[in-house]
């Protein structure tokens, strides 16, 4: 029972990170009509930015600002490539996947060549934080608290933006029908850039929280997280935001349970096996495609 509660807490804090990434990923899919496979890789890159900034200052605000700024800037800098791609190929999400997969490889390879000589980076131990609550096997670290509560706050803010603000309305309008949106005078390119910006903002925040949760990062982390984020989006049904919420959390919990109850190196394979089975049974996702 204690293992269960402990892993449930682990799973929820990990899952809320997946949820944020799934939301950012889906937002770009819905609004810009692209599959940004390199999005989790950008987030890992922002973790490296956090790490670099932490060597000079331990001011939390500065770290968050640096992480968010780097993620937004790079994500928006990538946008013209996808715009050119759409001009050449039309809005073909599969071609956008091929291009973003190349970007992912590029980012991973650059990280493993240039950053920290390719070795994994470790965040300072007080950054991860002491456990703020513990009883038997159950321990809740400050990092987990940041991830869980920060994650919830970010999700709430995201849905507020999307459903309660003028810009959010425009984002949803384009995701439903971009032609009609342009006919009524909504600037498509500008709004698409906005979606990259919002995803970048989410990514930058996630990078800080992931750093606090995991305490380390490596060049290979992008591929690893990327696969899970994309798989969770497919399980939910591509572009389905609310489904992504459920599946992101479920994936985090399932993975943590596998780690808690099964032999170490197999736990990830188990998580992938579960995803695979659901994908094979329901290729359109559990909650239906909305893209």
């Amino acid at each position: 029972m204690e293992i269960f509660v402990a892993q449930l807490l682990n799973g929820l804090s990990l899952g809320s990170m997946y949820v944020l990434l799934v939301l950012g990923f889906n937002l770009m899919l819905l609004v810009a009509k692209i599959i940004q496979f390199a999005y989790p890789h950008l987030v890992v890159l922002s973790m490296y930015v956090c790490w670099a900034v932490l060597r000079y200052t331990d001011n939390m605000l500065l770290v968050v600002l640096a992480s968010v700024a780097s993620c937004i800037v790079i994500n928006i800098a990538i946008e013209p490539i996808f715009r050119l791609l759409a001009k050449r190929h039309g809005l073909d999400i599969n071609v956008s996947f091929v291009v973003s997969m190349s970007m992912a490889l590029l980012i991973t390879d650059v990280m493993s060549h240039l950053l920290n000589y390719g070795y994994p980076i470790a965040f300072p131990s007080d950054w991860v934080g002491k456990s703020i609550f513990s009883s038997g096997l159950i321990a809740f670290s400050a990092g987990q608290a940041y991830a869980l509560f920060g994650g919830i706050a970010a999700v709430v803010a995201f849905f507020y933006l999307l459903y309660r603000t003028r810009q959010g309305r425009v984002l949803r309008a384009i995701s439903e029908n971009s032609l009609l949106s342009s006919i009524i005078g909504i600037p498509i390119v500008k709004t698409r850039v906005l979606s990259y910006g919002v995803a970048g903002l989410l990514g930058g925040l996630t990078a800080v929280m992931l750093a606090r949760l995991l305490g380390s990062a490596s060049p290979g982390l992008g591929d690893f997280v990327g696969m899970k984020v994309v798989a969770a989006s497919i399980l939910a049904g591509l572009g389905n935001l609310k489904g992504g919420l459920v599946c992101g959390l479920l994936l985090g919990v399932a993975e943590s349970m596998a780690i808690g109850y099964l032999a170490g190196s197999w736990s990830n394979a188990i998580a992938f096996m579960m995803m695979l089975i659901i994908m094979l049974i329901k290729p359109e996702g559990l909650f239906g495609i909305r893209a």
Binding site: R166, R169, V170, E176, L180, S181, S182, I183, I184, I188
Partner: protein, 239 residues
């Protein structure tokens, strides 16, 4: 009295691959007028409207709106400059509420949204009671009204309506035409593309007849109505 020209299309052509959908078409719409475009399905009416708005790119020719050359400009900028299109097939953002649809229509003048909403409700009292309803759950006629209302939210200088009667019950069609006529009385200039030639010719001041991408006839609607060819081809009467 010669009225001010609002929209001038000078010899535009649009092709989809080898198919020339609009071939060297010139039309003009003056301030305060109702101009109708009639022609069979596939005559190029919709393509012409889309080309004016910049959705389809014209290969040649020029579009002047309020004296400015808008050829090749992006659709959202053309729309912002005062051209409101009511697209074919009563298109609404079906997952969003009626209010949200209207707010989107007023994207470019956020400060006047409330006053515009009030004036829209005067023409469309039905919508006032349905503000929180999802647009996809409205009936076809209501969706068409929402589509018109949404266009009005941007205070357009020229309303282009593409087949507003398509797929609607005859009673609703009359209602829609009454609304459009009211709008014209309130000062809106209207360019209407319509397959239903009889209704359109009764409704408009001037008209253009399109066939396979070209304008084959033009003139005041009375003249067109008495033209034997038009009567034969579009009004179904045996002369």
């Amino acid at each position: 009295m010669k009225k001010n020209s609002m929209l001038r299309v000078e010899g535009i052509s649009v092709s989809y691959g080898p198919v020339r959908a609009v071939d060297n078409v010139s039309i003009e719409v003056n301030e305060g007028e109702i101009v109708v475009l009639i022609g069979a399905n596939g005559a190029g009416k919709t393509t012409l409207l889309r080309a004016i708005l910049g959705v389809d790119k014209a290969q040649s020719g020029k579009v002047l709106f309020l004296g400015n050359d808008i050829t090749g400009k992006s659709t959202d900028r053309v729309a912002k400059s005062g051209l409101g299109l009511i697209p074919e097939g009563h298109l609404v953002f079906s997952t969003m509420t009626v209010l949200e649809n209207l707010q989107l229509g007023g994207y470019h003048n956020p400060r006047e949204i409330d006053s515009n909403l009030e004036s829209v409700f005067e023409s469309f009292p039905v919508l006032r009671n349905r503000l929180d309803q999802t647009a996809g759950t409205l009936s076809g006629g209501e969706q068409q009204m929402l589509s018109i209302a949404r266009a009005l939210m941007s205070r357009p200088k020229l309303i282009m309506a593409d087949e507003p009667s398509l797929g609607l019950a005859p009673k609703v069609v009359s209602e829609i035409f009454d609304i459009l006529r009211d709008l014209n009385k309130k000062g809106y200039t209207i360019l209407l593309a319509e397959q239903n030639a009889k209704k359109a010719l009764e409704f408009g001041n001037r008209g253009y007849v399109m066939e396979t991408g070209r304008v084959v006839l033009e003139g005041p609607t009375q003249e067109l109505m008495s033209n034997p060819e038009v009567r034969h081809a579009y009004l179904g009467s045996n002369v």
